[in-house]
Each structure stands twice: as C-alpha cells, then as structure tokens.
C-alpha cells in the first residue's frame, strides 16, 4: 500500500487529553474571543484602557495645572468648576488624579518589568538546570519571600531613600520571587515535554532551547501574573507613598494624595475618597482582566 498524502482538513480536538494550543495570531485571536465572552474581563479591559487613555491624554484633558496652588480656593467640595473639588492647597483634585494616573501606571509597569525581568531569568535558570543551581536560586528566593508583605520594599526604601524611582526598584525586587516561582514551576513542567528533548537531540544550545522554545510556551502564566502583579505593584507603591516613603510632593501620586487627604477626612472627605477610588478601580480592573485572561488561557477552564 503506498503512503497516502493526507490532506489536512479542519481538524478539531481529537482526544480528550488534548490541550488547546494555537498559532501566534490564531492563538491570541482565540484568547481574545474567549476574553470577550467573559463580561468581567471586558469590564476590566475597559477600565485599564480608560486609565491608559487618561494617562496619555493627561495634558489635554486635565482641566487645570495639577501643581497650581490656589490657596484661596482650597478645600472646596466638588462643584462644576472642580468636579472632584480642590485639595488643601486649592489644587484641582481631578487634574491631579489625571496626572497621577501617569505616575501610578508608570510605577506599576516599571516595577513589574523589573520584577519580571529578574524573576523570569532566575526562574528559567533554576527550573531548567535544576540541581544545585536550582537550590541556590530558590533559597535566595525563599529569603526574599521570608519578608512579609511590603516589608522588603520598606527596608529597601529606608536604605535608598524615598522617591518614585526607588519605589520602582523596591517594588520590583519585591515582585521578583513571584515571577521566579511561577516561571520555575512552568519550566519544570515544560522541560519534561518531549519536544524539549527532541530539540536537545538536534543539538540545540541551552540558551536556544530556553529562550526560543520554552519561554514562549510558558508565557501565558507570566502574562497573567504580570497583570495581577501590576495591580499589587500599584497598591504597594500607593501604600509606600501613604507612609511617606514614596512619591515626593507635590507630585500627584495617588497614594501620596490619599495620605495628604486623610487629614481632611472630616472636613473634606473628597480629597481622600477620590484617589482611594482611583486606586481601587484600576486595581479592580487589572484583577478582573487578569482573572479573565487566566481563564481564557487555561485550557481546563473551558466550560
């Protein structure tokens, strides 16, 4: 019997164990479709999009100069002139929030990038090489993880001094263990797959295998983690600012605004309320989106 040339017809799932893996474009298209079905994720995406838009358009949409002090008009409640009122120096809260979005998103993104870069690198190396390399790296990660909550970030800031840049570094370092663990875990699973052995059998270098073959395949959990971590980073940075360890005045960082506003909870609650809501909303958006993304990327969650 001669070998038939098999026409590749539209093939669906063939066995129940099959995981949905797809081509680059097709894959993201599928993820997008999946996401679109998740109403919560759509809401999250809208929120995130809105914030980014606001951050980009800040100079054009902010009604006032966020730093313009106007002591005569201080502590005004929301009005037509000042939709969110003014703060204790008469600055327009809305304008400050709008500009603050740039800071919060920048702090969040940069620190997540820092954390992701080092975390992914460490996780990949630990997971791929295993043995003592793994032990050394993971012990180091354990040490970082042994600092509860934002304490590590606080310790770092206490050494570097408070500033937004240092917050990025501190929160970045604080995020390293999370990424390292996720990546290592995925790596352990992925490196056992036969395609990795197949590539090794072809004589590919470790670097080639890790970067070209494995990394793209474990990217989903990294993306999901990145989104969720962004939320945490924004919260942590705000917390540090709240403690006076973050953004320096007069910068309209939300945590710092909140910290300022707490003195006026009684007389002018709007000053603390709006930045609080702004933080809660973006964090909510990121969480919603991250969750949706996780579901969309997770083949098991298909209902």
């Amino acid at each position: 019997m001669s070998q038939p040339v098999v026409q590749v017809e539209e093939q669906g799932p063939h066995t129940s164990s099959q995981k949905k893996k797809s081509s680059k474009l097709g894959r993201w298209l599928q993820v997008y479709k999946q996401l679109k079905k998740n109403k919560m994720a759509v809401v999250g995406a809208w929120i995130i999009g809105f914030y980014f838009l606001v951050a980009i358009l800040a100079p054009w949409i902010a009604p006032y100069d966020p730093l313009k002090i106007d002591l005569v008009n201080k502590l005004q409640g929301p009005s037509l002139d000042h939709w969110m009122g003014t703060d204790d120096k008469g600055r327009d809260v809305l304008s400050r929030l709008i500009y603050g979005s740039q800071l919060s998103l920048a702090v969040g993104s940069v620190s997540v990038l820092i954390g992701a870069f080092f975390g992914i690198t460490l996780g990949l190396i630990a997971g791929y090489y295993g043995k003592w390399i793994d032990t050394v790296i993971m012990r180091f990660i354990d040490i970082l993880l042994a600092f509860p909550g934002i304490l590590l970030a606080l310790a770092i800031i206490s050494a570097l001094g408070p500033s937004l840049i240092n917050v990025m570094i501190a929160v970045g370092i604080f995020s390293v263990p999370t990424f390292a663990r996720i990546v290592r875990g995925s790596m352990l699973g992925e490196k056992k797959k036969e395609y990795v052995d197949a590539i090794r059998a072809l004589g590919a270098s470790d670097f080639h295998i890790i970067v070209v073959h494995i990394l793209p395949n474990i990217f989903s959990p990294i993306i999901v983690q990145g989104t969720l971590r962004l939320a945490t980073a924004i919260l942590t940075a705000a917390g540090l600012s709240f403690l006076g360890m973050g953004a320096q005045p007069p910068s309209p960082e939300w945590g710092a605004m909140l910290s300022d506003g707490r003195n006026f909870l009684w007389s002018a609650p709007h000053i603390a309320t709006f930045p609080g809501l702004a933080i809660a909303l973006i964090v909510l958006g990121l969480n919603l989106f991250g969750d949706g993304l996780r579901d969309a990327l997770d083949p098991r969650s298909k209902k």
Binding site: A146, L154, S158, G244, L265, W266, P269
Partner: protein, 306 residues
C-alpha cells in the same frame, strides 16, 4: 513525618541567616554613619571614633555580619539609637499587640474567606456566587489603608460604634482586624472557590457520585478536605501579607505594634530597631510558614514524605 519536621527546621536556618544578611546589607546602604547617630549631635569627633571602635564598625563587613548573627542568636539585637533601650525590649513590648491583631485578622481572613468560598463554589453561577465573587474582587482591590480610613469615618466617627483607635478591648480590635483581614479573606474566598471547583471536577468525585453519594455529602466530605489543601498554603502566604499590612493598619489606627515601630524607626533613622524588628517579623513569618508546610503535609499525604 518527624524527619520532615526536622528537615524543615534545618531548612529554616539558612533562610533566617539569609534574611539577616539581606537586612544587614540593606542597612549598610543607608547613608549616614550609625556612630554619629548613636553618639548624638553634640558628640565630639573622638567620642564618635571611640563609639565606632566600640560598635565594631571598623571591622570588615563580614566580621560585622558574623558578630551581628552571634548577637542575634543570643537575643541581643542592639540598642535603640533614639530611646537608648535594648532593641529586643522595644520589640517585645510591642510584639503581643501585633500578634493579637494578626490573630484576629487571620481569623477574619480564614473564616470569612472559607465560608464565602464554599458558598460560592457550591452555588456556582448563582446570584450569591456572583455577588460574593464581586465583593471578593473588591476586597482584593481596595487599598487597605484607605479601607481603614473609611471604616473609621463610618463606624467610629459617624456611628460611633467602635473606638477610633487605640488598643486594649475587643472593640478596639474590630475595625483594624477587618481592615487587615479583608484582602486576605477575599483571596482565600477566591482560592477556596476555585480549589473546590477543581476538586469537584476530579475523577474521585465522579466515583463518589457513581456510588450514589448525595450531592451535599460529596461537597462536605469528599471535596472540602481535598480543596482545603491548597487553601492552607494561601492562608500561610496571606499571613505574610498581613504582617506587612500591619505597618499600614497600625499607622491608620494608631496601634502601638511592631508595624508602627518599624515605620517610626525608619522615620527616626533608628537603624538597630529597623533591622531588629524587620528581622523578628520575618522570622515569625518563616516559622508560621513552616507550620503551614507541616499542616499541608499532614493533610496532603500524597506529597512524598521521603
């Protein structure tokens, strides 16, 4: 199991040494000379030099580290620059407060989280599921310092049900514990839910159904115990977040615990106190995590016990 506990204890040692090292190194990066600080503003150069000698600041870093580890091992965390009292004393007068706060908060986290998670999972896609999950998401998203302020505004100022701040009675605990426990409760609820749902889709649940076991019985007997296993780890990790959160919560509620000690010490550049208290909190966390690990092993017998 015994071997495991011993091994886990031994594993703690390098982690604790590492934590000490990290704290030690970070504190080395702090600008300013500790001797100058400790000597006080009016001290002469000679006095400072003498103090440097006395504190061993002239020695190589590594020796300083080893000395510090030795001191820590004997319970000597140094002397507070600001108050002149031993750091250990400063810490241990505040520790009970933070431990109590942490206890109530973790209670809020666990109890609330578990109940919500179980309801949510068993009534998947129902109104209560959706609303619990929405609330849980909010809980994760609210900055806890803000939540604390809002709770004060609402329950202490407007309704005057609870005291604004301070410590001592049960009433004092309520608002801070809620503030601190909420985020964790939300996370535990989500984790419980997904873990429950995951377990419910397992083969052995199908086996139980094939035996004719009742649905509720399946949930509480077959699923819950398995579902709790990953939840325990999450609770352990939440405990860490919670300990870190005390810094903020204690500031908001003016509770004189370790968290505030740290923040104050950072503000005052009281480095021995910063160093010591971060160390103590970390060690507590490491110990708690060890217990969590052990509990996890006990529950999850599938994990290789070697």
């Amino acid at each position: 199991m015994f071997v495991f506990i011993i091994r886990r204890l031994m594993q703690m040692i390098p982690v604790v040494l590492g934590v000490i090292l990290v704290v030690f190194l970070i504190m080395q990066m702090v600008p300013g000379d500790p001797a100058v600080l400790l000597a006080g503003e009016s001290a002469s150069k000679e006095q400072v030099a003498q103090l440097r000698e006395q504190l061993g600041l002239n020695k190589p870093l590594l020796i300083q580290y080893v000395d510090y580890v030795k001191d820590v091992a004997t319970g000597d965390l140094g002397t507070s620059v600001r108050s002149g009292r031993p750091v250990a004393e400063e810490i241990f007068t505040r520790l009970p407060v933070t431990v109590e706060l942490a206890f109530w908060s973790i209670l809020v986290t666990t109890v609330l989280g578990l109940i919500a998670g179980i309801i949510s999972a068993t009534k998947q896609y129902s109104i209560s599921d959706v609303s619990i999950m929405v609330v849980a998401l909010l809980g994760v998203s609210l900055p806890n310092f803000w939540l604390g302020l809002m709770l004060i505004l609402a329950f202490a100022v407007n309704f005057q049900i609870f005291p604004v701040s301070g410590w001592g009675s049960f009433m004092h605990v309520v608002l801070p514990a809620i503030t601190l426990g909420t985020a964790g409760a939300a996370i535990v609820a989500r984790m419980t839910r997904s873990s429950m749902l995951e377990v419910i889709s397992q083969d052995y649940i199908r086996t139980a159904k094939a035996k004719g076991v009742k649905e509720t019985y399946i949930v509480y007997k077959h699923a819950l115990k398995n579902a709790l296993i990953p939840v325990i780890t999450v609770v352990g990790l939440q405990f860490g977040a919670l300990l870190g959160g005390t810094v903020l919560t204690e500031t908001v509620f003016a509770i004189n615990g370790l968290g505030r000690l740290i923040i104050d010490a950072i503000r005052m550049r009281d480095l021995p106190v910063v160093q010591g208290s971060i160390l103590v909190v970390s060690i507590i966390f490491v110990i708690v995590n060890m217990f969590v690990d052990i509990a996890y092993r006990l529950l999850n017998k599938r994990v290789d016990l070697n």
